[in-house]
Symmetry: D2
C-alpha cells in the first residue's frame, strides 16, 4: 500500500510551483522514515543572472517540499506545513542539490522532519526543520 517512487514523482509533478524546478524523487525508505529529492540546477533557481548560485528561496522551497513528502510517504496522506526553519551553511553554486528528509516524529497531531541539503561535493549547503499538521483529513 506504500506509495512507490513513480507515484510520489507523479504527485510531485502535479504542481505548477514544482514545475518551475527540476525535482525528482531520488529515494524513499520506509523503515528509515526517509525520503530524498534531487534538484537539478536550472536558471529558474538563480539568484543573479550568470552566477549559477541558488537563491535561498529555491533552497527553502526544496526543504519544505522534501519534508512534506517524507510525511506524505510515511503516513500515506498529504500534510500541511505549520512552520519551518532553514539555516544556510554554504552558497550552492553550479551544482545539483540532494535534500534528504528524515521523519523525527509522526505524532497524531504534529510531525517533525529534519532535512539536510548537500551539493555535488557532498558538502552541507543548508539544514531545515519542519513541523507539519498530521491529522488525517
Amino acid at each position: 500500500m506504500t506509495l512507490n517512487l513513480q507515484e510520489l514523482q507523479a504527485s510531485l509533478d502535479n504542481s505548477p510551483f514544482h514545475q518551475m524546478f527540476k525535482m525528482s524523487v531520488f529515494e524513499a525508505n520506509f523503515e528509515a522514515q526517509r525520503l530524498s529529492i534531487r534538484q537539478q540546477f536550472t536558471s529558474t533557481v538563480e539568484r543573479l543572472a550568470g552566477t549559477k548560485q541558488y537563491h535561498g528561496g529555491a533552497i527553502a522551497s526544496l526543504i519544505d517540499i522534501t519534508g512534506d513528502y517524507a510525511l506524505f510517504y510515511v503516513l500515506g496522506f498529504g500534510v500541511a506545513t505549520i512552520n519551518f526553519r532553514v539555516d544556510y551553511l554554504r552558497p550552492a553554486i553550479d551544482t545539483d542539490l540532494l535534500a534528504v528528509a528524515k521523519v523525527r516524529r509522526a505524532g497524531k497531531t504534529v510531525g517533525v522532519v529534519d532535512i539536510d541539503v548537500t551539493d555535488n561535493c557532498l558538502r552541507l549547503v543548508a539544514v531545515g526543520r519542519g513541523c507539519y499538521s498530521t491529522r488525517a483529513g
Copy 2:
C-alpha cells in the same frame, strides 16, 4: 543617499529567481525601518493547478526576499540570510499578497527582521522571522 523605490525595484527585477514571480516594492519607510513588497497571483506560485492557492515555498520566498530587502534598504548594502522561520496561519487563495518587513535589530554582525504577510482581505496569511549577516563586504 538612501535607495528609492525605483532603485529597489530594479535590484529586485535583476534576479532570475525573482522574475518567476510578480513582485513590486510597495513601500519603503526609512524612519520606521520598514519595507513592503506586493506579490500578484501568478500560475507560477500555484500549489495545485486550478486551485489558485499559493504554494508555501512561494510565500517563504516572499518572506525571505522582503526581509533581505528591508535590511538592504536600511543598511545600504546587500546582506545574506543566516536563517529564517516561517509560520503559516491561513491558506492564501486567489489573492495578491503584501509582505511588510520591519527591522527589529540591525547590529554590527547580525540583523533580525519580522515579516508579516497579508491577503487582499487584510487577513494574516503567514509570519516570518529572518536573521541576516550584516557585516559590510
Copy 3:
C-alpha cells in the same frame, strides 16, 4: 469569565520551575490579545556569578511561559508548546525584563504568539515566536 490578573498570577506561582524566578503578570488585555510578564533580576538567572547578566535559558523560559500564558488567557484553557524560536538581540544586565506576548493567531488546532522582551531602558533584548497546540482537552 475571563481570568483576572490574580488568577493568572496564582497559576504562574503554582509551578516549581517558575518559583525559581521572580515573575509577575504585569498586564492582560483581552481585546488586544496581549499578556505581559515582568521578571525581576535574581541570582538564579545569572550566567556567570557577579556579572548580573541573564542566562539565555532564563530569557528563553520567560518567552515560552509568556507566550503560553497569552493563549491561556485568550482561550481560557492551558496549551502545550509545539515549538518556539528565540533571537537574542542584546545582553540583559542588571535589569528587570518585561515580556510582552501578542497572539497572532488562535486557530482551532494551532496558535502562534510573538513575544518581545525589553529591559529597564526599553531596549529590545530578545524576540520569541511560539507555536502552541490549541485543541481543547
Copy 4:
C-alpha cells in the same frame, strides 16, 4: 590542547543559572564534533508540583547550553547564542535527560548545532537547532 571532561564540567558548574539544575558533561568526541550533557531530574525543573514532568523551559535551557558547549569544545573559546529553536516531541516525566549536540557547521562567523534530547527509555523528547556567533573575541 582540547578541553577534557573535567575542564568542561568545571566551566559548566561555574554558572549560577546552571547550578539550579543537575547537569554533567557525559561525553565529548572531537572527531565527531559532538558533546553530550546529562541532566538529572530535580524538583527545580518540574512544571507542576508532584507531576515530575519537566518544564519546557528547562528542556530549552538544556538544549541551548549543550549546543553552546559543543562549539566551545570544538572551537576552544566561548560563543554567544544568536538564536535557537526547540521542538517538543513528547512529555519528559520522572526521567533523566541526555542532550546530544552535533556541530553541523563551525564557520568563521556562524556555527550551527543540532541537539537531540532523549529520556531514560531512549525516546526522543525534544530536538533543538541553535545558531551561534563563532567570531573569536
